[in-house]
């Protein structure tokens, strides 16, 4: 069974907890396990924070459209915004571990998105910037009862 949920949020930092909550609920509704749900909550939080801070960069009135869909094998989160393009591929990979003590920290959020997701696609078209995050599910949702 395919489950799809969609909502539009104001692109403001104080709204990001509500986006995380929406994504967590959508994951739960789709029957995802705790690890998968956490992965999507974290990725959504980091991506939306980047959209607000870098994409819209303080511009007011912007929006983020959030779409979530899942089947038995994979789940996909799509974030659409109309801010300045912010391609995660252009963010350098951070040096991790003890190196973090010696230099400014940047790119951790994108690192978490790359680590938790199996596929990160980004494209910009006239409708906006589309970030599509896909993860293969660790635990299949409970099977629906078979009809006799």
């Amino acid at each position: 069974m395919k489950v799809r949920q969609h909502a539009v949020f104001a692109a403001r930092l104080e709204v990001t907890p509500a986006i995380r909550e929406f994504v967590g609920r959508a994951c739960a509704d789709a029957g995802l396990g705790d690890d998968d749900r956490f992965a999507f909550e974290l990725a959504a939080d980091e991506a939306c924070t980047n959209i607000v801070e870098h994409g819209y960069a303080g511009r007011s009135g912007g929006e983020i459209a959030v779409e979530f869909d899942a089947d038995d094998r994979v789940a996909r989160l799509t974030l659409i915004d109309a801010g300045r393009p912010f391609d995660p591929d252009e963010v350098p990979r951070p040096e991790l571990g003890p190196a973090l003590l010696d230099r400014p920290v940047g790119g951790l959020g994108v690192h978490f998105i790359r680590t938790t997701m199996d596929e990160v696609l980004y494209r910009t078209d006239p409708n906006g910037n589309h970030l599509v995050l896909t993860r293969k599910l660790q635990r299949r949702p409970p099977a629906r009862p078979e009809k006799e």
């Binding site: 956490f38 939080d45 003890p98 978490f112 938790t116």
Partner: protein
């Protein structure tokens, strides 16, 4: 997010209850840097009630680790929960921050 600060000898125990994200991390930074500015550089982050952190929370912790160490102290963690531990591991923070199963052990690690 709620922050409660308790003093155990010369160790300040900063307990975080709730989630740390880009909206709440500045509050954590202020609490930790306030302790360091007051000369309380031996810090324990009690994360027993913290169920979530994003990279914003890690940046707040990292800044306080650097500041406290440069003043001869440290920030050590206690009772890190599952999802927070995942984030610490993904970032390599587990090799930077000392972590203990509970607050008592984290406080005792400063040697009284």
């Amino acid at each position: 997010m709620e922050i409660n600060i308790a003093h155990r000898g010369d160790v300040a125990v900063v307990a975080v209850v709730g989630s740390i994200d880009a909206t709440s991390a500045p509050e954590l930074s202020t609490a930790l840097s306030g302790q360091i500015a007051a000369g309380r550089v031996k810090l324990v982050g009690d994360l027993s009630g913290c169920d979530y952190t994003s990279s914003a929370g890690l940046r707040a912790l990292l800044a306080s680790v650097k500041d406290s160490r440069s003043s001869g102290g440290d920030l050590r963690l206690a009772a890190v929960q599952k999802n927070v531990l995942k984030v610490l591991e993904m970032s390599g923070f587990t090799s930077i921050l000392k972590s203990f199963p509970d607050v008592d052990q984290a406080v005792a690690s400063f040697g009284g």
